[in-house]
Amino acid sequence: MGKYILRRLLYLIPVVFGVSVLVFTVMHLFTSDPALTILGQHATDADAAALREELGFNLPLVQQYWNFLTGMLHGNFGTSLFTHTPVFTEVMSRFPATIELALFAIIFASVVGVTLGVISAVRRNTIFDYASMTISLMGVSMPIFWLGLIMIVVFSLKLGWFPVSGRIQMGYDPAHVTGLYILDSILTGNTAAFKSAVEHIILPGTALAMYSMAIIARMTRSTMLETLGQDYIRTARAKGIEERLVIVRHALRNAMIPIVTVIGLQMGGLLGGAVLTETVFSWPGVGSYTVESILKSDYPVVQGTVMMMSIIFVLVNLGVDLIYSVLDPRIKYS
């Protein structure tokens, strides 16, 4: 197992290197002159040349890539063209918001998705099955940004149950421990902050979770149907074990491997989906920051955030792979 983890970590090196080459090449070959982006189209040639020299954009591409790569290894992912703040600092300050949203979404998607899938499989071809699968079909078909807007209209504007946007009410921020507001408010015993943080995360978290929830429900249903047809389930029933226990302990536990695989794959997808949800709900995370940077043509920020997000994505996928071995001892890593 230790050797496998080490091998997988070593394998990440060429992947991250390749990602850095791809991101750098795309950003430098196809973008307009960053000096003109900052100074505007009416800048004089002398001013633009001076700025290029100051920012290092006049160096040969290979040299620029080398600076980018070595900087990255030291935690320097570039500096914003407009705010002059380091990308790493900006991303890390927003990162807890994105992680909190993604974690809420994956927990919601897993709990609701697995429940719907199990109900569908156990009550196959009944009204419960049709209802669950219709919800799942809608979940994979609805654009999450549209769902978010509809939720705002219904639950915030018409019913007034939840706030329209933001992460927490002004002045309610809990003391910083992890940066995850819900967790921090629990750790510090701040109930007002907890209530506000939960109220704010429900709509964006649910909107972000819908697609993953639907995929998890569909996978759970098909895997459970396969498992429920196995001989050991018949044996368990023949032994007179309570049906609830047969489903949970015998069927669901054996169906978990493909379900966990799908949940893991969804975790990465949520990072992409967060870009849309954060934009709709003005959630102060990495996704909305990336979109703002793209709209402002702040290329170092786009380059840095895409690079950091892909590293996180790769690490999440590795983590999911490792969880399998805990869940299924039959998997041997060699």
Binding site: V15, P143, V275, L295
Partner: protein
């Protein structure tokens, strides 16, 4: 349908089932699936709107409005209301069908062609070529696909062609992987070895003997891929990075309507429903095709 056949010694008559082509077989199975047929009907309607939409739209979808008529709710004159520039929403949604189909089909067509080439070469030749191509695909899969599409749009610039290119590029690895896996499973089959033994060049073997035999999983993936391409295009449009106004792309309409949706919900509601039904149709069709082509769930 059966016919009587005599064996070599003419001693007994054996009833055998007359051969049915696999495609006919698939279609027969697909026809039994009501959900898939519902999806196919919606896709048919979309194709009809895409082809004949310009004769069906009650008003000019691009420049047909006046500000005096802006942000009106649904009425007899404008069944789905008007947008912020007074244009008829129904006309714009009908016109949007052509854009969504064009983007969906083009993006999947490009990604599928490139993915098929990469996957077939990697799977057929194996060895170092396979290793290099698949590591390249791994690198592209190291990005959340929507984020990568957004990054491409930021450098390619906005517009429908660039949206198609961005979405195609980010989905190539998914097709390459499926094709490679399928090629690996069929390349050692006897008919491929026979084709090689009679001296066919590799490209001919791949094109005429390998690819036709791996089409089912690819067709299923491509059908579902169209729905993902339509969703991604609408997401790019919504963020202001995709198809640009005044083109009636549903995601772009949603993005533009967002500023007014507090007092004119229909600007957000109807384009969203159009996207949802279109994506749902391709999902139902894709699921139906998968079931029809999956030998494990064939009856009898």
């Amino acid at each position: 349908m059966t016919e009587e056949v005599k064996n070599e010694s003419n001693e007994e008559i054996v009833p055998v089932e007359q051969g049915v082509s696999p495609w006919r077989d698939m279609w027969d199975r697909l026809k039994q699936n009501k959900a898939a047929m519902f999806g196919l009907a919606i896709v048919g309607l979309l194709v009809f709107f895409a082809l004949f939409g310009k004769y069906l739209t009650p008003y000019d979808p691009l420049y047909g409005g006046s500000l005096k008529e802006s942000l009106q709710g649904p009425s007899r004159a404008h069944w789905l209301g008007t947008d912020e520039q007074g244009r008829d929403m129904l006309s714009r949604i009908i016109a949007g069908a052509a854009i969504s189909l064009r983007v969906g089909l083009s993006a999947v067509g490009i990604a599928l062609s490139c993915g098929m080439l990469i996957g077939a070469v990697a799977g057929y030749y194996g060895g170092k070529i396979d290793m290099i191509l698949m590591r390249l695909m791994d690198i592209m899969l190291a990005f959340p696909s929507l984020l990568l599409a957004i990054a491409f749009m930021s450098v390619l610039g906005r517009g429908i062609e660039n949206a198609i290119i961005a979405i195609s590029i980010v989905t190539i690895p998914q097709y390459a992987r499926i094709v490679r896996g399928s090629v690996l499973s069929v390349k050692e089959n006897e008919y491929v070895q026979a084709a090689r033994a009679i001296g066919n060049p590799d490209w001919r073997i791949i094109l005429y003997h390998v690819i036709p035999n791996i089409l089912p999983p690819i067709i299923v993936r491509a059908t579902l891929g169209i729905s993902i391409a339509i969703l991604d295009t609408s997401a790019l449009g919504f963020l202001g990075l995709g198809v640009q106004p005044p083109t009636a792309e549903w995601g772009t309409m949603l993005g533009a309507g967002r500023a007014y949706f507090f007092n004119a919900n229909h600007l957000v509601l109807f384009p969203g429903l159009a996207i949802t039904f279109t994506v749902m149709a391709f999902n139902l069709l894709g699921d139906g095709l998968r079931d029809a082509l999956d030998p494990r769930i064939r009856k009898g």
